[in-house]
């Protein structure tokens, strides 16, 4: 699975810590960020196959981050996670602009997130084969 690069962004340190731990243990190539701007800087210089971002981030929103990264073709597959159904319009925007292909509701469980990421990996691999 090492060949698929994953980026995960959330402003809560503990969530990020746990996600990093869990996915590294399961041999995923994952890099985590709590700062959206730092994440964007990284995306400007390195391509990621999958980007998982929280909508609510300080400084830069998850949507803006994904939009900017998408313009630079910095990732292939986006996953947005968002709190409850309050952010319906955000979700519609993200899906409408094809910034993300999948939405995970917060609070999420690690196994749910893993299932979403596994699905994304399959899709990314399929896209790579088509090329």
């Amino acid at each position: 699975m090492d060949d698929i690069k994953i980026m995960f962004i959330d402003d809560e340190e503990i969530i990020v810590d746990v996600v990093q731990q869990y996915f590294s243990e399961h041999n995923y190539n994952i890099k985590v960020y709590t700062d959206g701007e730092e994440a964007l800087e990284e995306l400007k210089s390195n391509f990621y196959d999958i980007v998982v971002a929280d909508y609510k981030l300080p400084k830069i929103s998850g949507i803006d981050l994904l939009e900017e990264a998408k313009n630079r073709k910095a990732y292939a597959y986006g996953i947005l996670f968002t709190a409850y159904f309050n952010d319906r319009e955000v979700v519609d925007t993200a899906l409408g602009k094809q910034l993300v292909s999948k939405v995970v509701e917060k609070p999420f469980k690690l196994d749910e997130l893993k299932a979403a990421i596994d699905e994304a990996i399959l899709e990314v691999k399929r896209m790579k084969q088509e090329k």
Partner: protein, 298 residues
């Protein structure tokens, strides 16, 4: 024999009476006597002989002052309580997510191990913990709105969109055979705060689900009635007894079994509706069902 000053002094010793405004009625007019009375806490004098008009006027102005004082006190009390509760809610949220994320790691990791994989008890206990955390979380969510201090944004809300997504979410959580449906014209808009409307409807729908013991129906509708938009949440559940109806919206009133209801849901619904300037009404018949109506004036 006791004179007026002694009587006043005795009465003022009682905690319950000490805030009662005291008027001295007197024929004594020396400056010293007057100061003595005022110094001991009386608020005014009426000199004999007096006219009944003067007396009534003074008393009514005192009552007026007293009411204002009471209202300010209540307002202040509520504001202080609100700040406290809001602060606590905020302070609980952070440590709560410090618990949930690592706990989820522990749960997932354990349940992936061969040794624990088939351990039903472990699954059950993690379930208990999860339910508890979810309840704290939703309570905090409610309090957060209730005591929200800042300006509340209002916008045009599409009732169809909002009601569609809420019912969809609840339909996914149903554990009983309940038909949850909605009927809203697509061009139906009201002005209000989205999160507050979502909170109100979520509370009403989740109550409706609880009110249905085995199977039944819940419908959410919106329609224009004169200058109002009526949003109705109706269930075919157990209904509310006549005796309970007057207390339904009171804080900490609940008929749910211990550990299930906080007694805050409907209180919060009412407070949030008031905050938006909406009216809320309830119709219920025991054994037949309940209907809540939120009346939004256009």
């Amino acid at each position: 024999v006791m004179d007026g000053y002694e009587f006043f002094e005795e009465v003022s010793k009682n905690e319950g009476y000490k805030d009662i405004p005291f008027l001295f009625l007197t024929a004594k007019t020396t400056q010293d006597e007057k100061i003595k009375g005022l110094a001991s806490g009386a608020i005014d004098y009426i000199y004999k002989p007096f006219s009944i008009d003067e007396f009534l006027y003074k008393v009514s102005s005192i009552i007026n002052n007293q009411n204002i004082k009471q209202a300010l006190y209540e307002k202040d009390k509520f504001a202080t309580l609100g700040m406290l509760v809001g602060g606590i809610a905020h302070e609980i949220r952070n440590p709560l997510s410090n618990i949930t994320a690592p706990l989820d790691y522990i749960r997932t990791t354990l349940l992936e191990m061969d040794y624990f994989k088939e351990n039903k008890l472990l699954k059950k206990y993690f379930g208990y913990i999860n339910t508890g955390i979810m309840r704290i979380d939703s309570l905090i969510d409610n309090l957060r709105f209730l005591y929200y201090k800042g300006e509340i944004d209002k916008e045009e809300l599409s009732l169809k969109k909002i009601i569609h997504s809420i019912t969809e979410v609840y339909r996914g959580t149903l554990k009983k055979p309940i038909v949850l449906s909605y009927k809203v014209a697509s061009e139906h808009y009201i002005t209000g705060n989205k999160e507050i409307l979502v909170q109100i409807l979520s509370n009403l729908i989740s109550n409706a689900i609880d009110a249905i013991e085995k199977d039944g129906e819940i419908s959410v509708t919106a329609e224009k009635v004169k200058e109002f938009t009526d949003i109705r949440v109706r269930d075919t559940g157990c209904g509310i007894s006549k005796n309970d109806l007057p207390y339904l919206f009171n804080a900490f009133f609940t008929r749910k079994e211990a550990g299930k209801g906080t007694g805050l849901g409907l209180y919060i619904v009412k407070e949030l509706a008031l905050k938006m300037g909406w009216e809320i009404d309830v119709l219920s018949e025991e054994g037949k069902g309940t209907e809540f109506v939120i009346k939004v004036r256009e």
